[in-house]
Symmetry: D2
Subunit: 423 residues, 4 copies
């Protein structure tokens, strides 16, 4: 990228955050319904402070305003000192929302100035690029947080965030596409920029397996529910069963039974479940219990894919991002599969739970400086997800991209794909 | 009161609530830093819904809007069905703040119409009056909630709510005014309107005692702190000591030590402690430990007053409200005593902790209908406070008025007065 | 008392504790099913250490063994330094149970030596007497703890502690005996030894009232249950309703429904509810809700008595202890009333919840030294109970005796008596 | 094995459990200091019930006693119905300890009869063998639970469980032994009986690495402590840092600082830390933080081994169990390394934390029937440990053996071995 391209890229990505905030009522900016869901004002501020603290600071452009916000906008960087607890972000009324918008402007102004004036773009570029990747991750978070914030209100008071897309109603048989095993390379094989957690590129041996041609649908998940899936302990991991009972799970997050029919809260409002759409907002535990149930019911060796099986399938089949349902389509809701038997929905629509805990790849090394805290310290008791979702900007994702969440997480756009053991 | 007087009274009181909200930033309306502190939008809505549900409903003027808000604006009335949990009020972004202002207008419009059109003012009046008393209680709550909401922010981001009053710096000796014991009447002896908890009027025998001429000051409380009051278990009630250690209390709420000097958050901003001002925002446990410490230190039989000792002192000395520091003065902060040895500060400035748990008076009967839940069901494990504070509207209070809070409460304008046993 | 009488009294009371422990299996000595229920080894040790620390210590007879046990046998005396948390007593296997029995012997040996050798019995007596009163309180505790410990086991594994008494099956109408109001004296009016909390003797004015001739029965309480008492929020104090729902109360502690019939765990084993026996093991909240329900159902001004109403009734009617059901009868279960309409069951069988929080009487002063912590520091958020129970030694109780427990307490022998307002 | 060999094997293993219990005071059998530590009576009963429920039940030899204990002795088998909560085992006094010993006898009698009478040893053998492997796992648990139970008492009341071994005081340099990478087989490659979690045997590619010749010592860990290891957030996983601060960790479990010197509780009593002994009772989080600290301090790519690196090193070097410190040596404490630079301490002394979460191997299938719950349902948010410890029976362990505990676990005999990246 040359300077102008970087400026354009910067403006485009930073601008999208503002665009995503535009439909929000003032009130929504301050709300934190649960610890994991930061109020949007914080998202606006934190992403700006991230540029300020990691870039402007090194170029002596870190001003009074930045320092003023150090305490409230630092997410989790021990390197940068004391900070407000995550669960308290929704308890602040200062800085105000308009102060956060002003702060964004201040940061953007200084950042663009810096880019324009730098004589060492090569050195500046990687940091700016990381800042923008970070911003994109927070765009996805913002969408899922907005869904949670608006959805937390009593149903009769809820207001939608966006227009609904057209209903897509094609039905598609679930089939399994066989793939040969062998010793393959994994991680950022394709090269280009990537997060530290996608390296080192390493060899890994896969047995033969077959991968589900599409995501599991609401209809299939309804069968699981109706067959007592939420009442059968033996389908669940022990901790999962504990979570299920303690949290009184009996359907995916945002589902609600009204007059014996299931509705779901979407960013376009509450509406009836559509059976052909992929099931969404399930925890890893639910995904795993569903896989177990399906295996028992169909007497097949069905299970969730490992992250390397997913990656190998995506790489081998040259799955394409281009036509998929990302944040760019502004539907913010997963789409149904088409009727084809080919491998589809690998990208976009929903993050796919894999069966792997989030661990470092061989020869993993963290980013330098404060960014060493970006990924490595979270490699513990989380599960990897792959493929991006309807809330992910398309140009943010790639084959080797690793997302990760705790097994109990349901507010992200998460879905289920199965694989079958062949040997 | 005739119709016009009631209309004027209604407008005056309802108007004050809006006036109190005027200085608030939009953000503050949605914030709930702890379960006890409702966000101001809720206060605005709930006080309006109270009129709607208890009065308009009986006159067929309960409209769609009222029903729409039943779930979120019901505080604790089991009679009125399901409602949002208190601690979740700050998690809603709907209804919006402007919808709450509109709702107030709608209720006011209908209420004034009802008053103007009624042919039975005698029947309507008591209910309207209760609604306005209820509104005044929420005005006091609003002020203390605003103090907590604004004060919750990191000090360098805090913004004041109002102008500070002039510093009052007279020092006044603490003396004790003796009063003769005997069999006296208590409760709403003066007659006129009162809450159910101020009845029945009943006889009670008091021993001789002497009452402190003024409230305990910051200076005196500093002596308690510096003498290790927060480290000596033997000064405290067992539960109080538990609360003190668990919550890491080492000074009143809103106090903060900077460079070895105490500052306090006030509604006019952060400022140095003023030694002659009454100590404020102490829990019952702290008040009681202070009394114990003072008794030990001075080798006198000092303690907190019973609620009937307080009432008898106020009644006997004909303590006057008129010149006291109520919400009407718009200082929202307690004032220093004058130098006189007479009994002062009985009204206004700070609620005074008494040594009594909140219990029903002899022949107590609750209000009728839903309002039966107003006071009676809370007569458990709370302590009585007397006298009103700088956040209480002056015309809301009277000699027999009983306020009550849990012994751990610190966010209210609470202070300390001592008495001495004489027999 | 002369020396020999004191020695005999000492031996009799200390001996009873051993007698109460005799039927226990070794295992039971170490069990603590909940924080409030100390394991019996601790009870044995603590009561002995109480003599050692408060008496032998002053006479230079505090030996190595005593010091060794300071940390584990101190209940709550801040004066005596660090100690194990109450809820951890059941986590210790040292000191062993037999070490505790030996320790008792060691203390008894030294105490009897001290009594025999003292030249100042007048000075020694009061402390020994307090130690024995303390022992008696722990005898009652021991019985209620044993009931809880044995009762905690799965029903099919439970074993009884003692033989059952004969079933008493007389039915007795509930009537109310009127008493004139007036200004009376309260507290230890009769003189003789008493706890600090029974002083000062003070005047108090009572209105006319009528007192229930007997305790409320299981049969009457069943009516409350069957009429939905546990489902009607409006009958309950707000905190009580919270406790009821959170703890899933639907009947008294130790009741269990089997094949549509209620059984209760008693110290003689599990057996069917007997309708004429007084209802037992109810919290203050349940007692209060029952009173409210009875008042509504019978359209009378029924309620729990105040502690002074109870005391006045006992004093006026010269209620007698002699024939009542105390620990001395070794039934350890409440007895039915006789058929008489006179005031009965005032003593023994069950502690009676009063409507008063536990507060100091006028001119209350604590005991001296460490014993200052005995009563005063617990005068907070507890309710007073009167009259003793089937687990109280008869010579331990008197008219002015004040017991106190938190409103949620159910493992003590607690029951219900009602009064009626007459004015 | 023929019948007689199975009978001997059965008697030997079941007998060892009794032997391990012999030194315990009666009290210790009932104590549960934390949820993870079951009281020994339960261990005795559960291991017996395991034979009864899984074997005798299938041969119609499941008697009244077995049914009676179903509720209390079922650990976590949903298949076998309702059961007491794990954390409540220490709250029972029935069944008594002697009833548990009798129950063991009853089960043993029936088991031996069954073995002697069976005409189908081939079918019976695998189940008996699993029962005995299960018993051995509980022998290790028993030793670690006893350490915790005895160690929970205040230091001056603690009593040791066994004699101490001689102090071993050789010092041994920490060196790293290089191993070539490549595609290797993992899991139960050697064949013979194994748990389901050691299958399927599968290929896995390893990069070159070097493995530490011995376990990390107390002396090395002291350096970590003294260098502020417990105060530097950047050394820790995010959750680990949270656990460290919340639980106030500042040294391994059972360490205690007295007069500026560290002591540790061992099964032979409290004694000074020996610097050459391997550090013990550290959580995964501490092990990982130590590795990070060592890597930073020494500027090498040091880290914990993956479980396959450990297994490959053990397999390649033909590490031997025979001379190692297992439960069989009855020391119940880890031994120091010898001075050799060869790979040592791979077996026995301490379980070694690996960097892997516990996940199924490729083509994993659970055991049949109720035993399907044995391993699979726990494959979530736990870390794998390898090699056995001083509490493991020697004939219980093998190269492919996978132990697993939560990352916070410290009461097991856990230690640290490091590896170094070579590529």
């Amino acid at each position: 990228m040359d300077k102008q391209q970087l400026v354009d890229f910067y403006k485009q990505i930073r601008g999208l955050t503002l665009e995503l905030c535009a439909p929000l009522p003032q009130e929504a900016f301050r709300i934190q319904p649960m610890a994991d869901v930061s109020p949007p004002w914080w998202n606006l501020g934190h992403t700006s402070w991230f540029f300020a603290r990691n870039i402007l600071h090194q170029h002596n452009a870190y001003n009074e305003l930045d320092k003023r916000y150090d305490y409230v906008l630092n997410s989790y960087y021990e390197t940068f000192g004391a900070r407000i607890s995550r669960e308290d972000r929704g308890k602040l009324c200062f800085p105000t929302t308009s102060e956060m918008f002003s702060y964004r402007e201040s940061v953007d102004h200084r950042m663009l100035e810096l880019i324009n004036q730098t004589s060492d773009l090569e050195k500046l570029f990687p940091l700016v690029f990381i800042g923008l990747q970070h911003e994109q991750q927070h765009q996805e978070l913002l969408i899922t947080e907005v869904k949670n914030i608006l959805g937390y209100n009593p149903p009769h008071l809820q207001k939608p965030y966006c227009e609904a897309g057209d209903e897509t109603s094609v039905s598609c048989d679930l089939t399994f596409i066989p793939l040969d095993g062998g010793l393959f390379e994994f991680g950022n094989v394709e090269g280009g920029w990537c997060w530290d957690n996608e390296l080192g590129v390493h060899k890994y041996y896969l047995d033969d397996f077959a991968i589900g041609n599409r995501l599991i649908t609401n209809g299939e998940y309804l069968n699981f529910i109706e067959d007592g899936g939420y009442q059968q302990a033996l389908l669940w991991l022990a901790d999962g069963w504990g979570a299920c009972k303690e949290s009184h799970w009996d359907s995916p997050l945002y589902w609600q039974k009204i007059d014996d029919e299931f509705y779901e809260w979407t960013l376009s409002g509450m509406r009836k479940i559509r059976k052909n759409e992929p099931v969404c907002h399930v925890s890893f535990y639910e995904a795993n219990a569903f896989a177990e149930w399906k295996a028992v019911t169909e007497k097949k060796k069905l299970r969730l894919p490992t992250e390397r099986e997913w990656e190998h399938a995506a790489r081998t089949t040259k799955a394409t991002k281009q036509t998929q349902n990302f944040a760019d389509s502004k539907l913010f809701h997963p789409c149904s599969a088409s009727s084809t038997q080919e491998l589809q929905q690998m990208y976009g629509s929903l993050w796919e739970w894999t069966s792997n805990h989030y661990e470092p790849y061989p020869r993993f090394t963290t980013l330098q400086g404060a960014l060493a805290e970006y990924n490595g310290k979270f490699m513990n008791n989380q599960r990897v997800l792959r493929g991006g979702s309807c809330a992910t900007p398309m140009n943010h994702i790639r084959i080797s991209y690793r997302n990760f969440w705790a097994a109990t997480t349901r507010f992200q756009f998460t879905g289920i794909r199965l694989v079958e053991d062949l040997s």
